[in-house]
Symmetry: C2
C-alpha cells in the first residue's frame, strides 16, 4: 500500500425527508442563514423544505436565488454582499452543482471579501461561514467536496477555487427533489458522477478509500444504465436515491484526487459552446478510459469489472446509448482545445500524463468532429 | 436505500514515515502539545518520531507516559491535569487503543474538568483539545472514532464516553511501529478489528458507506489469516500496513454504529478475568455470526463472501486457528455475564436483539466453559 492522505469531514444525512426530519442538525451552524439557490429549487420542494427546517428550528434566513448555471463572479459577489448585509451566520446551498458551488463561494467571500481579479489566486483562510448543502441533481458531488467551480472570464474557462475550509459541514441527500428532472439533466449529471469516479482512479492522489468509493459508484451507476437508456425513462424515488448516493461517493473521490484530464478537456466545450458539463465529460470519458487501458490495465480492469463490462468499447458504447449526445465541433476547435488542455494544471495529477497528441486523439476518436454540411467550420 | 447519517471527519495520513514526513500537519493544532502514551511507544519508534515531528515544526511538548492497558479514571485525570499545568493546546496520542482512548479522554478533561463520578454521565461540549492519533496496534480503530473506552469501577466494566468532538483531527498510520508486536497482541487486535466490522453490519445505524468499509476490512483481514495462523509468523511492514488499514476501516464502521453484542459480552471477560479485549471479542464472534445467520442471512452471506468462506462454521474455525485461545470460565460466571450483558444498552442498537438465552448460548457454544479439573468453579 502506498502512502495517502484522505479527508472527508462532511456529515452526510440521507433519506426521505431528511432535511425537515433532521433539521435540528442545522442549529449548531448559527442563528441566521442565507439560502443560496437557483430558481428550480422553488419547484422541486427543496426550498420549501429548507424553509420549514429553518423555521422549525428557530432560525432566521434570507434567500439569494440568483444562481444560474456556471456561476459568475458577479453572482457570488452579490450573494456574499447579501450574506454580510443580512448578518448571515451560515449558508444553506440548494440546487445542482452550480448552486452548491456558488453557496461555497458565497460562504468564503462573505468572510474574506476579495475583488474579482484576486478570486482565483488561492490562499483562503479557515474563516468561512459553515455550509449545509442540499443537492437537487445527482452529479457534481459538490456537497462533499472542498471545491467551488466558477466561470473564469479572465482565463476564458471554468476554474475551481478550493480550501479544506470549503467542505460543507452537512449534506442532506434526498432523491425526492430529483423526481421532476428530465432525461438530459439526469443522464448528463450521472455521466459527470461517473467521470469523477473513473478519473479519480487514475490520479496520483487516489487512495484505497477513494478507490473503494469509486468502484462502488461505478457499480451503482452502471446498474441504473438500463433504465437511463430508455427514451421516456421512469426513475423511482429509490432510483434517484441511488444516483444521488453514487454521485456523493464519486464526490468523495474527487475530494481526494481532484478532477483531471476529462474535466480539463470538457471545460472548453462548456465555456465556448455551452455543452452541459456532464455531457462534455461523458462524451470524452470512454475514449479516455481506452487510453488508460493501454497504460494502466489493472485499474481499467477493476473499473470494467465494477461496471459489469468486459471491454472499454462496451464502456464507451454504454455511455453513448445513455447520453445520446449530438455535440460536435470543428477539427480546428478541437485542436485548439487539445493544445490548451495539455497545459492545464489538472493534468499534473494524473498517473499517466497524456500529451497534446493523446488529448487530440481522445477528442477525435470520441466522434466529436462536425460532419460536412452540418454547420460552421466545415 | 434506507436513511442514514454518516460522519468521519478525521484526516487520515498513511504511509511509511508519514508522521515525520507530514509533521507540518500538526502545526494548525496548536503551539504546545501533550504527548499521551504508554511505555511501549518509546521502544517501537513512534514516540521518537512524534518528538521529531513536533521539534521540526517548532512545537513544544511534554510527555505523559502513564497510560496502562484499560485506562483508569486516575490515569486520564492525571493526564488532564498535566495538560492544564503545561498549557498544552493539543494532544498527540500514541499507542494501542488504551493510549488513544486515554488521549481523547485527556483532551476533553483538560478543557472540561469533571470529578470521577460524573465522567460517565455524558453531555460533553465541543470544547476539547484537538487530538492527533498515532496507533501502534491494529485493532481498536480508536484513531477514527469519537469514543474513549475507560475502566468504569462504578459499574465494574469498561464504559465508553463519546462525543462528535472526540474524533481525532489527524490519524497517522504507519505499520512500521507494529513490526515488533508479538503473536498474541497481533492476532487479538486483528480479532478486535474484525469484530468491529462484523458487529457494525448488524446494527440499526449501519450505513451503505460503513458496510462498504466493513466488507473491505473483512476481506483484508481474512486475506492475512493464513499468515496469522502460523506459530512463528513473519509479517512484513506491508502486511502491518494492511492490518492497520483494515483496522482503521473497521473503526470508521463503529464510528457510525457503535459496538454491540460481542463487545457487551466481551467486556466482563476482560474486566473480571483480564482476557485481552480483542481475544474476548474474537472467541465470541463466530458464534454470534452463526446466530445472525439464522436471523439475517443476507448480511451474513456478504460477510462470508468477503471473507472468502462458505459457512459460519468455517468462519468460527478460522478465528479459532488464528486466536488459539485457552480462555475458560465457569458456567455460573457465564450465566451471570449473559444476564448482565442482556441489560447492556449496547444491545439496543442491533438489528436483531439477542435475549439472555441467546447470549448464554453464544457463551456456551463458543466453548468457553472450563473443563473439569482445570480450576475453580468445577
Amino acid at each position: 500500500m502506498t502512502g495517502f492522505v484522505y479527508q472527508m469531514p462532511t456529515k452526510i444525512i440521507s433519506g426521505r425527508d431528511c432535511l425537515t426530519g433532521r433539521g435540528e442538525l442545522l442549529r449548531p451552524l448559527g442563528k441566521k442563514a442565507l439560502i443560496v439557490t437557483g430558481r428550480s429549487s422553488s419547484e422541486n420542494g427543496a426550498l420549501a423544505d429548507a424553509v420549514t427546517a429553518l423555521r422549525n428550528n428557530g432560525r432566521e434566513f434570507s434567500v439569494f436565488d440568483g444562481v444560474r448555471p456556471n456561476p459568475t463572479l458577479d453572482c457570488v459577489q452579490a450573494g456574499a454582499e447579501q450574506a454580510r448585509k443580512t448578518g448571515a451566520e451560515f449558508v444553506v446551498g440548494i440546487g445542482g452543482g452550480s448552486a452548491l458551488d456558488a453557496a461555497k463561494a458565497v460562504a468564503v467571500l462573505a468572510r474574506q471579501p476579495r475583488p474579482d481579479e484576486e478570486i482565483f489566486s488561492g490562499g483562503w483562510s479557515e474563516d468561512v461561514l459553515p455550509v449545509a448543502a442540499v443537492p437537487t441533481t445527482a452529479g457534481t458531488g459538490s456537497e462533499v467536496t472542498q471545491y467551488a467551480v466558477l466561470t473564469n472570464d479572465f482565463a476564458k474557462t471554468k476554474t475551481s477555487i478550493s480550501s479544506p475550509a470549503f467542505f460543507p459541514k452537512l449534506a442532506f441527500l434526498d432523491g425526492k427533489y430529483m423526481l421532476g428532472l428530465g432525461r438530459a439533466v439526469t443522464v448528463n449529471t450521472a455521466a459527470d458522477a461517473l467521470s469523477h469516479a473513473v478519473e479519480g482512479m487514475f490520479t496520483l492522489r487516489s487512495t484505497p478509500l477513494s478507490d473503494l468509493a469509486a468502484l462502488e459508484s461505478v457499480r451503482i451507476l452502471f446498474s441504473l444504465f438500463p433504465k437511463l437508456e430508455e427514451e421516456n425513462f421512469r426513475l423511482s424515488c429509490e432510483d434517484r436515491d441511488e444516483l444521488l448516493y453514487a454521485s456523493m461517493l464519486a464526490g468523495t473521490v474527487i475530494a481526494q484526487s481532484g478532477t483531471t484530464a476529462v474535466h480539463a478537456m470538457g471545460y472548453p466545450l462548456t465555456y465556448h459552446h455551452g455543452t452541459p458539463h456532464g455531457e462534455a465529460n461523458g462524451i470524452l470519458l470512454g475514449e479516455m478510459l481506452a487510453l488508460c487501458a493501454e497504460r494502466l490495465p489493472e485499474r481499467t480492469e477493476k473499473i470494467l469489472a465494477a461496471a459489469g463490462l468486459k471491454t472499454t468499447g462496451e464502456f464507451k458504447a454504454a455511455l453513448k446509448r445513455v447520453l445520446r449526445s449530438d455535440a460536435a465541433y470543428t477539427r480546428e476547435e478541437l485542436e485548439r482545445y487539445a493544445r490548451e488542455a495539455a497545459k492545464n494544471p489538472k493534468l499534473a495529477g494524473v498517473t499517466y500524463r497524456p500529451d497534446e497528441e493523446d488529448l487530440l486523439r481522445i477528442y477525435l476518436e470520441s466522434g466529436l468532429v462536425k460532419k460536412e454540411g452540418t454547420g460552421a467550420g466545415v
